[in-house]
Symmetry: C2
Subunit: 233 residues, 2 copies
DNA sequence: CAGTGGTCTAGACCACCCA
DNA sequence: GGGTGGTCTAGACCACTGC
């Protein structure tokens, strides 16, 4: 646990947050304005501003010019997840990471993928599959498509040595990401590679990546049975 | 789409971000220090500081005193989700929200729940089940436990009129939340209420809430078949 | 119109930590 | 030791919007 250093704006922020979570100020209540708070805390208005602005970013309060700052009715509306590279994630758990490249082929873009990526022209995709292991256990099955129109050099890369994620990070920047999470039933391929039964419920993460409006890659990650993605706020 | 107003720190931030995503500055590169940037942009150092600090918060750069500011190797590692109240979520999609209270009973705390909440003493829990509908379709099945040791007044509340989420928000503040997401197979109860087949894969969200180290409530939300939780970064 | 937050400045001191 | 970011101040002007 990292103990944040003492600083005036942090003191103000924690004090105000405490008043909110403890119920001194209830949902919908107006809190004092910045000038008053600055006087009360004996600091500059800018310091109060930073404290209250961060509380607003975190969803504790709502600010409006002239109307003032009010405590939000439904706090903690936001959950943030760190999205680690799978190898780091497994290493952090103390397991040995291993990556198995299953195969790759060049295909014309399937219709569903064109829709998902917002592509309207024809073009080739490089399709890859791989399994990520934690120690001896399959941890995640990866099915990836790389847009060869945007990244022709992917056709020449050797993904048996370097995983596609790592290769992509080193090769191209990206500006937009869409992620979604859902549940799916294990089909034969998934059941085989993740060592589970046909139809088993699996946690699924999908990620589409763009670089300045140009779709780069789509990846579908199926996790081992029972996987949970957890966060604390 | 909201167009953020023009402001100096935003201009600086967008300019720097563009240099990063466009690859002018590659992963690991050192970017100019705050004094240099302030001179280049013709603004105060505090303005640059805010811009770069926000980029650091968003995971684009890494800052270290004396060492300077460097572009992160794996950017966009964080995804944030808005967690709306289910009624608002459904209303926002243009559907009519309806809530059906199925039942409630007082139980002694199951062992798995004690472990999850970090409870060591014995105590009673109020257990509730409900279904949330979007128009005529079941959207989400809710199974909730409320810690009666912390909230004895829950035993007297009438949850057929007001959903437990709403009641809790109005009744007690909370300071810590743990959320997790996974996949599960529909059991008989879920299959019946969500109108799907036994064993169907369902997306599951679980949330445990504390108020100052005291566990308040645990809720398990199973979504209709095919539900996806999506975010753009 | 006037009160509130939003932003900016110029300068300052300090903590951290790499060299 | 010294360079870099972290924070703070006192004051200023501005933009928005409820009254």
């Amino acid at each position: 646990m990292v103990e944040p250093v003492k600083s005036a704006f942090r003191t103000v922020k924690e004090t105000l947050k405490h008043k909110i979570v403890a119920g001194d100020w209830g949902p919908g209540d107006l809190i004092p304005n910045e000038v008053e708070l600055a006087a009360a805390f004996g600091c500059a208005r800018a310091t109060v501003n930073r404290a209250v602005r961060e509380l607003a970013d975190e969803g504790y309060v709502e600010r409006k010019r002239k109307a003032g700052t009010r405590v939000r009715t439904a706090p903690l509306r936001r959950a943030a997840f760190e999205i680690p590279v799978v190898g780091d994630e497994i290493a952090a758990r103390g397991s040995v990471y291993r990556y198995e490249h299953l195969g790759q082929q060049t295909l014309s873009t399937p219709r569903w993928l064109k829709a998902r990526m917002g592509l309207d022209h024809h073009g080739k995709m490089l399709h890859l599959t791989a399994v990520h292991y934690a120690d001896a256990n399959p941890y995640q099955f990866e099915a990836r498509w790389i847009n060869l129109a945007a990244l022709p050099q992917a056709a020449e890369a050797d993904f048996s040595l370097m995983g596609p994620t790592e290769w992509l990070i080193k090769t191209i920047p990206f500006s937009n990401v869409e992620m979604s999470f859902s549940a799916t039933a294990a089909d034969e391929e998934l059941a085989h590679h993740l060592v589970c039964r046909l139809g088993d419920p699996l946690f699924l993460a999908e990620r589409t990546t763009w670089w300045q409006a140009e779709p780069i890659t789509y990846v579908r990650l199926a996790f081992q049975r029972g996987h949970k993605m957890t966060t604390r706020v």
